[in-house]
């Protein structure tokens, strides 16, 4: 059950938020924005600004460092021609946990493509954990998903993205899945996967319907703790610039050994010291 949003959080995202990736004229009405900002005064909770697009953002909880926000579908989606745009901004030293309240189905667009673009900006030492729920590409859907993340120094990111080709009994439609993660030093992970349920390609996904990925970037060089390993059929790839990509390909989501990603929530004491 989703808690009711608290009154105090209904600070709508102004169109002129500094550093916001979208120009004001694009900000309404279909852009979902979540911004976590440092508290107005020491000891106060982080400020959370949200605006609703095709997805609505609902605050679940917050403290002096961390906020949890749930993303809820505002209606039937995704239909052909739909463009979901999600902008996430977490200021320096703050942390955000995003949860999806339901999975998403991209329906047969009858020739019209649909888009889901996510833009993530993390300040220095900021953290974002996003436990995404399955994104199902129904037969006939032509979907483009792009996740772009720009990380400040020491920022940490943990994302789970589960894509399913086809509802049950379907082979599924077409998807282009792009991930672009970079920090000030350059690209960390750039990947564009193209798959179509009707045309399985050995070496890309093969016959697998599910591609389940947890990407973790923790703002530092690769360390011995990133065990490159294979467990339960999932493979962990250690990225050159640090962080890991853990991936499982399989027939059904419930068989996946992957779980929601996790980052340690920063200690609230840290922020007090800085403030």
């Amino acid at each position: 059950m989703l808690p009711e949003p608290r009154e105090v959080v209904a600070e709508p995202a102004g169109p002129e938020l500094p550093g916001w990736p979208y120009p004001p004229d694009q900000a309404a009405p279909r852009v979902t924005q979540v911004a976590v900002e440092r508290p107005a005064r020491p000891g106060a909770p982080v400020r959370v600004r949200t605006s609703d697009g095709l997805l609505a953002a609902r605050l679940v909880s917050r403290d002096r460092v961390h906020a949890e926000v749930a993303l809820v579908a505002g209606g039937a989606m995704l239909l052909g021609g739909d463009r979901v745009v999600v902008g996430i901004r977490v200021d320096a030293g703050c942390a955000l946990t995003l949860t999806d309240v339901g999975g998403t189905v991209a329906y047969d667009g009858d020739g019209a493509a649909c888009h889901w673009d996510t833009d993530i900006r993390l300040g220095a030492g900021a953290a974002l954990t996003w436990a995404g729920l399955p994104f199902v590409v129904a037969a006939g859907a032509d979907t483009h998903r792009a996740t772009t993340a720009r990380l400040g120094p020491g920022a940490r990111l943990a994302l789970r993205e589960t894509v399913v080709l086809g509802r049950s009994g379907e082979r599924g439609g077409h998807i282009v899945l792009r991930t672009d993660i970079a920090d000030d030093a350059g690209p960390v992970l750039v990947e564009e996967l193209t798959a179509a349920g009707e045309h399985p390609v050995p070496g890309v996904l093969g016959d697998h319907a599910v591609i389940d990925t947890v990407t973790t970037v923790h703002g530092g060089p690769a360390t011995g703790s990133d065990h490159p390993s294979a467990s339960g059929g999932a493979v962990t790839l250690r990225l050159e610039r640090g962080g890991t990509l853990t991936r499982w390909l399989g027939p059904a989501t419930h068989l996946s050994p992957l779980g929601p990603p996790a980052l340690p929530v920063p200690d609230t004491a840290e922020l007090s010291e800085e403030a």
Partner: protein, 229 residues
């Protein structure tokens, strides 16, 4: 002395007899077969490769050649970074750097005075082994190999390396894989202009192949294998 024609250079680079260490690699084929891919899937796998992993390599070579042609040695680090971000599997990065070492040895012996080759030699000495695609890009810059042909060379070499490895791993009529190689090259052809037009590291294709990446990691841990990768 007249220089060899650029077509002769391309043929030399695509020749399996080239002493660059390519014979120890299967272009991800052995990992795929050990990972459970049936031999019957090899033609489709080759086509998939020619339109995914090979294009990342090809774009890397093309951009390297452009960066070096502008005498921008500092741009090399950006190309290597873009390639590494597009190559998430450590086993594949390691294999590409091993091949790069062999290519570099060859390039240094054949075109020692060319600025592009000197630039990669200096970069490798300072920062460690460069991936094959970057060294190939330096050779392209040094010899005037056009970008579109650099793409075709990369795709062909990758497919032919796998095809040659297949004949060592599976008994079959050697004529069959020759057809598959040309089919893979044909599948890549519509992508050639786009990849050949890449100028900046950001433009390098990022087409991933997760199943191949997973197989590569599993293969790297095996002790009984014929090929390195």
């Amino acid at each position: 002395m007249t220089s060899a024609h650029v077509l002769s250079v391309a043929m030399l680079l695509a020749d399996a007899r080239l002493p660059s260490g390519g014979h120890a690699h299967s272009a991800s084929l052995e990992p795929a077969l050990l990972g459970g891919m049936p031999v019957a899937a090899v033609p489709a796998w080759l086509v998939g490769r020619a339109t995914t992993a090979s294009l990342v390599e090809a774009g890397t070579a093309v951009v390297t050649a452009r960066v070096l042609a502008m005498a921008d040695d500092s741009g090399l680090a950006g190309v290597v970074g873009a390639w590494a971000a597009r190559t998430p599997a450590p086993a594949l990065r390691d294999a590409a750097r091993l091949l790069g070492r062999g290519y570099l040895r060859l390039a240094r012996a054949l075109w020692p005075e060319m600025p592009a080759v000197r630039a990669v030699v200096a970069h490798a000495a300072a920062h460690g082994p460069l991936p094959r695609a970057v060294v190939l890009g330096a050779v392209a810059a040094a010899t005037g190999l056009p970008p579109a042909d650099t793409v075709r060379l990369t795709v062909y070499d990758d497919a032919q390396t796998a095809a040659a490895a297949l004949l060592k791993l599976e008994p079959l009529d050697p004529v069959a894989p020759a057809r598959w190689v040309l089919d893979a090259c044909a599948a890549a052809e519509p992508h050639v202009p786009r990849v050949a037009a890449c100028i900046t590291p950001e433009e390098i294709p990022a087409s991933g192949s997760p199943q191949t990446e997973g197989w590569a990691q599993a293969h790297a841990l095996l002790s009984q294998r014929l090929f390195r990768a």
